[in-house]
Amino acid sequence: MGQLRMDNVQKRFGDTEVIKGVSLDIANGEFVVFVGPSGCGKSTLLRMIAGLEEISEGEILIDGTVVNDLAPVKRGISMVFQSYALYPHMSVYENIAFPLRVERLAQPEVDKRVKRASDILKLHERLTHKPGQLSGGQRQRVAIGRAIVREPEVFLFDEPLSNLDAALRAEMRVELSKLHRELEATMIYVTHDQVEAMTMADRIVVLDAGFVSQVGSPLELYHRPQNTFVAGFIGNPKMNFLPATCTESDETGATVQLSNGASIRVPVAARPGLEGQALTLGIRPEHIHVDEGDLVLEFTPTVVERLGIHTVTYSTLPDGNGTFTTVLEGTAPAETGKPLGHGFNAADCHLFDGAGAAFSRTAPMADTPPSVLPTGPDHTQ
């Protein structure tokens, strides 16, 4: 079956280290999404799994077999490329049938498999067309069709939807999730689109400059980011960070003082003896309320965007470095240039130490279905 394991996988291009030791277990049938900023090595990691890129160090195992030196087709994977990589001179039928032609399957079997793929992807009316005559979404479906005819155990997708417009992307997202359920295959999906990651993934792997920053379910990453990188990367608009100094701490929480003298006690699993240390307080824009909350800070919005359902404000922090973003109700009384009380609750706060590692939050997360949350506060990997 499609069980995949990476053991301290590394990749060097000449002297530059691109993947710096990734260990990961992916269960059969799981939908795993790799996210991360541009250039962090997502594609490289995926191409190493595919067998298109040599593995400098470490091992990749599929179903318990080390596949480091196996050709892609022997690994039981198939890959969908960002640019689709359809063969322009072949019909849709021949494009989908290509892997079967390589295998020299008999024509009736080819017919059967192509028909099944085109049924799943609703392509039967297009089988005689050339890729040039198709729309972007249809081309993407042909590329997926070519990947599924071989019935692989692991599907690899490298930003398959990034060439499509927003509406089509939303549609294909749903179709891919459906496909995942139908095929019950393992899927590894690279994207830099957070919405894709959050909606499709069973687990998200956040990559940061060749390292795995955190692995977890979408809501786990949202509610319990392990460090400032993940906290800032997951969530849109991104989390606000305020410098703070610890004044008192124990296992049940830490009291921090902000630069304006205000103080708040954050319910996290801290430890005693943090007094005097510089920490970072994180608060998501959507957790800000006008004039209400455990702590109210006064900032002056420099830009106010009214989106109807929400009002988004951007204020420059008093010390001049950084922006404070909020997502308020559509009717919020925010105005450019007029001071506004930014209130938030201690339970919504995140606290990070000087190195950027998070203290586990102990507050119950009332707005989250319990099934998607990890049980213990120290749940990692």
């Binding site: 595919a50 067998g51 050709a71 892609p72 087709v73 890959m79 295998e103």
Partner: protein, 280 residues
């Protein structure tokens, strides 16, 4: 596009085009006019462009005057076709290798090919003669085909390589992931996609080979049955006089195959030489 030229700018442009075209085409037109004149009227003084005594007679008498003329034309065509086929068989794999693989001395080798282009056939003709002599290839079609192909290979590799470089790598990677080998991918994926480029290379090779064969035929071949057209034309140089009108007629008939190839495939040439220059 908005027509942004004033009338006098247009006049200037068209005058320029006219001068250029006259310069390029005048020899052909004069050749054609000469072929229509009777032989005594060719050097008439004073020169007159149109005369009443013009006819297509030379186009008929030339076949009698030089009975093997048709054979020379066919030879020319045959030699160029073979040279093109042979050259393509070398160019395509070489260009593929230059465009896809990393190996030591790749760029020096490519540079070496281009350097050969600069030296040209004329300089190497004596060593080549010795080579042909040693290989026992003198006075055969091969003696004209092989060097003809060899000297078109460098340019061909360069053209083909730049075309192949534009074919996305992902196309091959997709085939590789699906289990196809190098040769299968080259045959089923790369060559069909590169077809316009191959046509361009084939045409330029054909035309170059057609133009070059005179030198090789002159040096390596003395069997008059194997002569290509440019050698055959020498037979119009009679003992007392040169039969200019028939010579011109035969030349024009001789370039006809190239012209036909060009006319039918020229849209590929334009498309192939400019493909990718503009985002499609």
């Amino acid at each position: 596009m908005i027509d942004k030229y004033t009338w006098w700018e247009k006049l200037l442009i068209y005058t320029g085009v006219l001068v250029f075209l006259t310069f390029v085409l005048a020899p052909f037109i004069e050749a054609f006019m000469v072929s229509l004149r009777p032989i005594d009227a060719v050097f008439r003084v004073p020169y007159r462009f149109f005369t009443e005594d013009m006819s297509f007679a030379a186009y008929f008498t030339m076949w009698e005057n030089v009975p093997k003329l048709w054979r020379y034309i066919l030879n020319s065509f045959f030699i160029s076709c073979c040279a093109t086929a042979l050259a393509l068989a070398c160019i395509i794999p070489a260009a593929y290798s230059f465009s896809r693989f990393e190996y030591r001395f790749r760029n020096p080798i490519l540079g070496g090919f281009l350097a050969i282009n600069m030296i040209g056939a004329a300089v190497l003709i004596i060593p080549l003669y010795k080579l042909m002599l040693n290989l026992g290839l003198l006075n055969s079609y091969a003696s004209m085909i092989i060097p003809g192909a060899a000297f078109t290979v460098p340019t061909g590799i360069f053209l083909m390589r730049s075309y192949l470089l534009r074919i996305p790598k992902e196309l091959e990677e997709a085939a590789y992931v699906d289990g196809a080998g190098r040769i299968y991918t080259l045959w089923r994926v790369i060559l069909p996609v590169a077809l316009p480029g191959i046509v361009v290379v084939a045409i330029t090779t054909f035309i170059t080979a057609y133009a070059q064969q005179f030198l090789f035929a002159l040096t390596f071949n003395s069997n008059s049955d194997l002569h290509p057209l440019p050698m055959g034309l020498y037979q119009f140089f009679g003992r007392q006089r040169i039969v200019w009108n028939e010579l011109m007629a035969a030349s024009l008939v001789g370039i006809l195959p190239v012209l036909l190839v060009y006319v039918f495939l020229q849209r590929y040439i334009v498309a192939g030489l400019t493909a990718g220059a503009v985002k499609e």
